[in-house]
């Protein structure tokens, strides 16, 4: 019933073409194929020419067409943009299309193929002739390519957002050594990919190796389901993974790494809204932070180390300048950071804390006096409850916060419940007086 031929041609008449053969009159052919509306600026960008003189525009529902007489028809699908966006790409039942051969689509820059369970083979162009950022999004398609490698090593000169997930049987993804990855984003969802990077080597390591990647602006590697057995368990982040300009956003989530060294991450030298997220890495015990300042004048708006399992006794952020209105999260969900008791802020008069979350662990020691203006901000939210602190430790925190705090701000709150109640003398500090002082300065204070 069906014969398949398909190709793209360059430039103005790139199209995707294949034949269908109908055997009855009339016969309706339905394709499990529809467009992804997110990236289509109008309804008419994917055009389907049915081969009998009729034309349709691909919508968000599966398309179908009724042929009045039996015969062989060449269906042509083309796009008015350098973008292929299929929210669903199954050719159902008898019109099965097992192979997705995009060898000639080399002027495209956005590939979006999702939900194509009948597609088992992906062949991409050997090179991409565009300077636009490359978006590659291939999800929930079960490739069984000839080899276990998806090789993008010849995709030079691109700034890329790169996403691939839900694709079985691909063991290695070779990334190009490009000039500048303005935004490198890799989402790793239930994949069995075992090596990724320019030097993607031996399968079996579940390793992301970003050596020589030259990433700038954003580096985001995300496995959305924490602790999934297929998540990566090793990541290599040498300085050469980042451009000389440095990045402003670093996001690693869901890995199975037990150790992680972020000390060589190159950060932007001037941005004051930098973000570092290391979250939901539920095997991560040992995190290596930088020990010397990572940015000349840049500052971090958010540092979020959440839902990990640190055994570090100290989380030392003395190399990371927190900005005004910054947020610092160092807690896990239910106290799994069983050994971390000390948080060290980089000494700075410029740091104000919108949020501090250090709760449900054994946190007890903070150098608040090194950030003397930390609470000079409305709605400052300092959450240190559930750490089982002694009265002496609670007293010291209240005393230090009282020392650095002034009146004139609203909505500030200090949470110290789940610890011993403050008293007037333990540790040599009068926690009760400090607490009263803080309340009269406008703080709401929660204690045992």
């Amino acid at each position: 019933m069906i014969g398949l031929s398909r190709h793209f041609r360059d430039k103005t008449d790139e199209y995707f073409e294949f034949d269908v053969v109908t055997t009855s009159s009339p016969e309706t052919v339905t394709f499990g194929m529809n467009r992804n509306p997110t990236y289509m600026t109008s309804f008419a960008q994917h055009v389907v020419e049915w081969g009998d003189g009729n034309t349709s525009y691909m919508g968000t529902s599966d398309i179908s067409h009724s042929y009045s007489t039996a015969g062989t028809y060449t269906i042509r699908i083309w796009t008015r943009e350098k973008s292929l966006n299929f929210y669903k790409f199954d050719l159902i039942t008898s019109q099965n299309l097992p192979s997705l051969d995009l060898s000639f689509a080399k002027t495209m820059y956005r590939y979006y193929f999702q939900n194509g369970s009948s597609i088992t083979y992906l062949k991409l162009p050997q090179e991409i002739l565009t300077t636009n950022p490359l978006y590659l999004y291939v999800g929930f398609i079960n490739f069984t390519n000839d080899s276990d490698i998806l090789d993008f090593s010849s995709y030079f000169g691109l700034q890329s957002i790169f996403r691939l997930f839900g694709s079985s049987n691909v063991k290695r993804i070779v990334l190009p050594l490009v000039n500048n990855y303005a935004s490198f984003q890799l989402t790793w969802y239930d994949d069995v990919v075992e090596a990724i990077g320019p030097n993607a080597g031996t399968p079996g390591n579940y390793e992301v190796d970003l050596d020589l990647m030259n990433i700038s602006t954003t580096c985001r590697i995300s496995a959305p389901v924490p602790a999934h057995p297929n998540n990566f368990n090793s990541i290599n982040l040498p300085a050469t993974a980042f451009s000389s300009a440095g990045i402003t956003t670093f996001f690693i989530s869901g890995s199975n790494c037990t150790t992680m060294d972020v000390s060589n991450v190159r950060w932007n030298q001037t941005s004051n809204i930098m973000q570092m997220y290391i979250i939901n890495n539920r095997s991560l015990q040992n995190l290596t932070l930088a020990s010397s300042p990572v940015s000349a004048s840049g500052m971090f708006r958010d540092i979020v180390l959440y839902d990990c399992r640190f055994t570090n006794s100290t989380l030392d952020f003395s190399a990371y300048q927190l900005s005004q209105g910054s947020s610092l999260y160092v807690n896990s969900n239910y106290g799994e950071n069983s050994n971390t008791h000390t948080v060290i802020f980089k000494a700075s008069a410029n740091t104000t804390l919108s949020q501090l979350y250090a709760k449900r662990g054994i946190f007890s020691n903070f150098n608040f006096t090194d950030i003397p203006n930390a609470t000079d901000i409305n709605d400052s939210y300092l959450e240190m409850s559930g750490n089982g602190m002694t009265a002496a430790q609670v007293n010291k925190i209240l005393y230090d916060l009282d020392t650095i705090s002034v009146s004139g701000y609203t909505g500030r709150q200090i949470f110290l419940s789940g610890n011993s109640a403050p008293d007037s003398s333990s540790g040599g500090y009068d926690g009760l007086t400090a607490k009263t002082n803080l309340i009269t300065k406008g703080f709401t204070v929660y204690t045992a």
Binding site: T38, Y39, T41, E81, K82, S83, Y87, Y109, R110, Y112, Q114, N115, N132, P133, Y135, Y137, G139, F140, I161, R163, F165, T187, Y189, S222, P224, V225, P226, S253, G254, Y277, I279, N280, D302, V304, Y306, D307, S327, Y329, S354, Q355, Y357, D379, Y381, T410, G411, Q413, F415, S417, A421, K435, T436, I439, T440, G442, F443, T444, V445, Y446, T447, A448
Partner: protein, 97 residues
């Protein structure tokens, strides 16, 4: 549950005991916190306590209180779980078509 008050230098401070109750702390306009806890809370703001959350919600509605803006961090943390599981790639800019 008893809410007591005392004065320090002309400032009235309200204080809860540590009985398990729902506690609503607000400044007449914004909600500072709404929790069920045994915390001792001391504040210059208003404390409303109740056995049930719904009573606090009724009080919120009665006074027309609003929650402070949700910290963006929470949103990012939630996003991290949901990120792309269902194929949503909304964060990719669409300015190069």
């Amino acid at each position: 549950m008893e809410i007591t008050s005392y004065e320090i230098n002309g400032t009235t401070i309200y204080k809860t005991d540590n009985e398990l109750y729902w506690r609503l702390v607000h400044d007449g306009r914004n909600i500072l916190s709404l929790t069920e806890s045994q915390d001792t809370i001391e504040t210059i703001h208003t404390i409303f306590v109740a056995r049930t959350e719904i009573e606090c919600l009724d009080e919120i509605e009665r006074l027309g209180l609003t929650f402070l803006e949700k910290p963006k961090i929470y949103e990012n943390l939630v996003d991290s779980y949901l990120d792309n599981i269902h194929g949503d790639i909304d964060d990719i800019p669409d300015n190069n078509i």
